[in-house]
Subunit: 269 residues, 4 copies
Amino acid sequence: MSKFKTTLIVALCAAAGLSASTRLRQAPASVTSTHDPKLIEDLVYANRILYDQGVVDAFGHVSARDDKDTNRFLLARSVAPALVTSSDILEFDRNGEPIDAGGRAVYLERFIHAAIYRARPDVKAIVHSHSPAVIPFGVTGTILRPIDQMSAFLGAGAPIFEIRDAAGMTNLLITDNKLGDALAKALGDKAVVLMRGHGSVAVGDSILQVVHRAIYTEANARLQAEAARLGPINFLTPEEAAKADAVTDSKASISRPWELWKARIGKIE
Amino acid sequence: MSKFKTTLIVALCAAAGLSASTRLRQAPASVTSTHDPKLIEDLVYANRILYDQGVVDAFGHVSARDDKDTNRFLLARSVAPALVTSSDILEFDRNGEPIDAGGRAVYLERFIHAAIYRARPDVKAIVHSHSPAVIPFGVTGTILRPIDQMSAFLGAGAPIFEIRDAAGMTNLLITDNKLGDALAKALGDKAVVLMRGHGSVAVGDSILQVVHRAIYTEANARLQAEAARLGPINFLTPEEAAKADAVTDSKASISRPWELWKARIGKIE
Amino acid sequence: MSKFKTTLIVALCAAAGLSASTRLRQAPASVTSTHDPKLIEDLVYANRILYDQGVVDAFGHVSARDDKDTNRFLLARSVAPALVTSSDILEFDRNGEPIDAGGRAVYLERFIHAAIYRARPDVKAIVHSHSPAVIPFGVTGTILRPIDQMSAFLGAGAPIFEIRDAAGMTNLLITDNKLGDALAKALGDKAVVLMRGHGSVAVGDSILQVVHRAIYTEANARLQAEAARLGPINFLTPEEAAKADAVTDSKASISRPWELWKARIGKIE
Amino acid sequence: MSKFKTTLIVALCAAAGLSASTRLRQAPASVTSTHDPKLIEDLVYANRILYDQGVVDAFGHVSARDDKDTNRFLLARSVAPALVTSSDILEFDRNGEPIDAGGRAVYLERFIHAAIYRARPDVKAIVHSHSPAVIPFGVTGTILRPIDQMSAFLGAGAPIFEIRDAAGMTNLLITDNKLGDALAKALGDKAVVLMRGHGSVAVGDSILQVVHRAIYTEANARLQAEAARLGPINFLTPEEAAKADAVTDSKASISRPWELWKARIGKIE
């Protein structure tokens, strides 16, 4: 996977004079001034880290529940996650509509976030991605299950959302609240849901936890696919998964990789 | 895949004094002065991006239909795509002959481009590559089909060109117009054609679209090969592919990755 | 795998002002002043190299038997190996308890090291990792055996530790001396032991040897998994493995890659 | 595979003050002053390129037949190829003994080179490597055959050398002329020979050609292994391979990637 990409990209953008002036012209009232700066900073890091770790490419997005109004959430304008800066973060209402986009384009699939925040009060952050090792599981109906203690949050297996069951033949995208609700229903009370022919969604109780889960969901998919070629897999039992999850998915455990992943990105603006 | 390679390569070339003087001596009337500078710039970026994204190595090439004379097309002299600069872009006639190469070597397989531009008036840009995940499909007769919405342009599957049917035992290369016409016939009205024992060709209605298709053709091949090992694949149906294609292969959708890919390259000369 | 990551990370940390002041505030009596500086330097390089070579990610750790008191060992505080500096190295007693952690968090699984140093007087250095190619072997019960002369230290095959046999349903982690002893027993007199659903442990008679073994264990796992797909594998016989091991696992042989791996990291602090 | 590693490594070495003074002290009469500087430069580039392209790691070596005395050959002292500079190049006689090593260690397996130069007057350069995609072919007895025109030099398939047939149970290494002769016999008049449980050797009529062949042998192994999982492979026929080889293995064709590979390395010392 790529290394220090986002740091270098931003430096290159600056050097090339790309988009900076455009952004300044378009900037609405910044969410930075009205929200916890730490939350915004973590959300920008989350965008960059997910690209650096190979979970998102030019597509995919990460959001956080609003710290001022829990009916709202924070999500970047429509831009590649690797290029997100704090001035790109917008606020959205519970139906997925931007409060003030300042004329900027927003993600078509923001309803993934809106629907899950409505259905799951415990969820504080959401990642949607097309992370490559996970997609083969969705299209073959293979259940993603925890290979090791790092992916114990997968529990007894991640459900797969079949959009045909909800809406027949579509373009596969979650472009309205009805589709969002169907996806949220498939997710249920789990940590991860796969989307057949599309990608996956991970949820968490913090930005750090959801980034951790998104990265280790991809890692588990790589390991499980590889192991399946060697022979039948001895997965974690539900009891092992529950016990391991209590340790590896905890705040203490997830802060160690977060510090490394941030160090790889360096300072952000 | 490699990161920031082309930026660094150009810097290294400059530092090493490689080839620059040679180029100056050989330079014919530059196409830059007689064509839309934006088209030339996009074509140079396309070369660099395709290398950075692992679609081409030292071989492979990308062309654009001429904006001044639709019977002509623009293509670099014979050089690795990662090293292409605007002064390397040459103009070719409808038969694949250079208008003024200034003594510089041209690609042996320029007839791929000439033949497809003749056969497909809708095509404005073409990529030929040996992108690695696609080659195994051609040599095993496995049909490349859309795994997810990003590759919906593959429709009901990419055709495979068998050069033996057209010309018996050859060196596999498309080195004249007769072979080019046979390849164009195999492509038909599709977006992508595989070449058994050789590589593939993608076409598009713009440089941005063809680069997008070339990159996601390779991505789909990786995903499909991986999924095939897990079990039977639930591909997009033709109806799903058509609906998804209308969104994911559109100008609005393909500009987001293009901006990211350009940012990874930085300024070009 | 990533390149020059650790060098860049440290540079980025410095640039970002991350953690440096925190570390200074927390620093206990430094082990650097009371131990062989060469041993500490090698241990810091080992941490960085194992990350650079893809053996460890944010998790995993490497220790060395104490040169002043062979009942003790040296191991970093709880931090990602890529970020380890000499001031992070702590001293632990034979039961895995830190002599003076200066209030800093220590690895939960330090008992892996304590137990093996107790059981194996010949062992001078230990690596625990979740190196990705090895995990599929543990969960499928596939025996890792030497494919080529570089992995001759695997001998007749690496044993697999099943924590369920020792302790039933657990969180998979080696968090006390009882579990550590069970793991050490499974290792026996071998060079490597796999841990089902978790990772693996390599041991050696020096930091250089254990780093070499950890890297080539991962390399062998990649090669063996790939070869298994092509057909039945003609492994090294025990006699070949013993003869090759005498050369490839020797001090003369392992110093060549060590110099390369160090050069990739550059100067450390 | 890694990017710009060798350039950075050398810079890092310089920055770290590693080995430079040692080298100066040990330097014998330099081969640079008595041989074609272009040959030495190409040989140093070959070392660096083979590492940058993932063919060699810390092990493996590349030699060139001596331009002054065709009974002799040029090969680096025992050092990782990524770190080779012109002052590391030594001269060896037809029996694989160094003319003047200046006290420096030489590669154990220099007899690979000596034996093949004796047996094959047409061979001007040799690469020995453990390139990872090739090893699984040797240990499973799978014949490496040309998947596409780039690997046409593989002809009707690369032979596999089984050292047990020549010498029974060994350490797998070619550490004397008798073993070297057995290997050269297995190679015959081919371009590539695989060594079961060890690696492979490629030969060529120039440094450029052998580097090209070593890189595309590894590429072909990756493609063939991948294709074998999709279904039976339609390889190039011997006639196609012969025709393609006349183009893709020619001086005109191999200079394009060589320029790219050199540009990735930058200036050498």
